[in-house]
Symmetry: C2
Subunit: 341 residues, 2 copies
DNA sequence: CCGCTGAGTGTAAGCGCTTCCACTCCTGGA
DNA sequence: TCCAGGAGTGGAAGCGCTTACACTCAGCGG
């Protein structure tokens, strides 16, 4: 009965029997490993076809001792940043013949166990930022599971991929100083390592110009969080209103813009606002957002390739890669001759 | 040597040997299946601890004949819609003790093979919309892999979860008619099943009021796509400008708003614009977007639960679930007394 | 005092594949 | 004519686990 429904799928034994050969030959014919006579291969392929046989992934993996799968741990998917990185990662992983297992830690308690389980299902892991504690990272490293840290400070014996932060932050701050602004505020959480680096860069420049750097106002890195932070920073009772608000990312900046509008403030006339990431909405915002472009997709792609090298053993010494970013000046930071449309 | 680095991890045999018992006992002790004397259990646990043993997922899966993992196929992650659904899915899947394997079809050629591979790695699959052709769906169904279709027309022997579309579209169209608008345009692609349903609902209402329903203008469901569509629809040379543009989703609507602004048109004064989904940005847009709220997170969560029932065999008859949506009237469709802040 | 029962344990058979090794022919060069 | 060697194949040993089944003892009621 050709083309029948096969239920849970045939095994290599049934194929072998039908083709009148041994399972070893079937395996060789299918994987092109070792010689198989043309006629035999033909028979095997026919049997495979008739039984619509697909090798069991579990059997293959157990025998080969590898999963052909990668894991990735990220905090959240709200907002374009993580989503874009994930897409870049998945794309390259698929290209390299690996499946991708995801784990979001968003507001989850038992992250540790979930990560441990995930590690057991993959050949290598990517860990995003500070989603898991150092202890867990250490455990993964010790288990000899290839590991790439994404946007997180490198540790011994693990790869790291991230975008440049400090220097771009310095460039951004310098640019704002060039506008003549002297009072600043920083909006955004501080528990993400990359954000910390951004603040470091900004602070360094401000200090260098005799301006006492402000404490960042923690907030969630969402439009909502930015809106709340904006209300706080820009309302009168907060003390002197800053002339420029540097935000941890674009979403926060969009929220702050909303708050400013609601408070009747003109952006950038009354207050300049900058973001970070250059998400799609940054270009479309009113005013268009001055920001630092981060190669999000590429970040994921590079992580996938680095992981692949580690898994394949092409490279054993850990590598730390920092992708370049770019200051994108638009109108939200003030009038500028070179404004990008 | 306690707490040493274990390399690639011990096997159950080493644990058994160290504890002085058989592997069967180790397994029973660890999985609480069958009686084990308290003292023995103690010894086993100590050995497990000392070797920092974690059962090999492959071994377990092969023996149990299940993966404890779910797959999901989606087109893209740009924009909040798919990301939110994915998050809801992952959350529930994890809660049910399953890992999630993802596959994005975005601009991919060999989708079929990738899907096939994915099917071999999971106990059940979710397929989003029209990411894969009917033939592939059919193949999955025939392989007896539990399958849930998300936002796609149901097929025999597979579950379906989606949000209500037609009735809400009718409500939306009716509301716009209530504003007195008589000329309409539809912006958005037509190859997504749920969008088609929306257009159907809109058309039905318009026809019912003697208005000849417009052909939808296809465009990508992104802000960019919407912007382009908006330029086309709202520019003079396109013929008579519609008084209201109904968009396939919020992103398109945001793009159309941008186009309108750029053309010097007032929204909603000159043209009313509506979206679909109620993404976060819809509330924050200027003007705030009238839209239809779709329970994105819940959509994913329900799919995960439906799939779980199928996998566990709790239910064998396919089920089709339609989640309710809600018309959210804001200011982009025109002045309205009950405007939501 | 004796089977019976059930707690506690070990043996071994899978699960579905890959791959090492051994074996059989058959061919070509000496 | 003979033999080395390679093409082609099958046997069987894993890979790491679960679990059916068999077995050994105690403790128990009769």
């Amino acid at each position: 009965m050709p083309h029948s429904d096969e239920g849970q799928g045939a095994t290599i034994y049934e194929v072998a029997q039908r083709a009148g050969v041994s399972i070893a030959t079937v395996s060789r014919a299918l994987r092109n490993t070792g010689p198989v006579a043309a006629g035999t291969r033909e028979k095997v392929l026919r049997a495979v076809e008739e039984l619509s046989f697909t090798p069991s992934r579990l059997g293959v993996s157990l025998a080969q001792g590898r999963h052909a799968a990668n894991g990735i741990v990220f905090p959240d998917l709200s907002g374009p940043y993580f989503a874009e990185v994930l897409l870049g990662y998945e794309e390259v992983a698929a290209e390299l013949g690996r499946s991708v297992l995801i784990l979001s830690t968003r507001g989850r308690a038992a992250v540790q166990d979930l990560v441990r389980d995930l590690v057991g299902r993959v050949d290598g892991m990517v860990i995003f930022g500070r989603t898991v504690g150092d202890a867990v990272v250490d455990e993964i490293v010790r288990s000899r599971t290839p590991l790439v840290l994404l946007a997180r400070d490198p540790v011994e014996r693990a790869d790291a991929v991230s975008s440049e932060n400090t220097a771009s932050a310095e460039a951004l701050a310098t640019h704002l100083l060039g506008h003549g602004y002297t009072t600043f505020a920083l909006a955004g959480d501080d528990d993400r390592g990359d954000v910390t680096q951004r603040w470091t860069g900004v602070r360094r420049v401000l200090s260098g110009h005799g301006i006492r750097p402000p404490e960042p106002l923690p907030c969630e890195l969402t439009v909502e969080g930015g809106y709340a932070a904006g209300r706080t920073l820009l309302s009168k009772k907060h003390g002197r209103r800053p002339r420029a608000v540097i935000c941890a990312d674009d979403q926060v900046a969009l929220g702050v813009i909303l708050a400013a509008e609601e408070l009747g403030l003109d952006v950038p006339g009354d207050v300049a606002i900058t973001g970070w990431d250059d998400i799609m909405a940054a270009r479309h915002a009113r005013p268009a957002l001055t920001t630092v472009r981060q190669p999000m997709r590429l970040l994921g792609a590079r992580a996938a390739r680095a992981l692949d090298e580690l898994i394949k053993g092409i490279r054993t010494v850990p590598n730390s890669e920092i992708l370049p970013t770019q200051l994108i000046v638009r109108s939200s930071c003030g009038p500028h001759p070179l404004e990008e449309k």
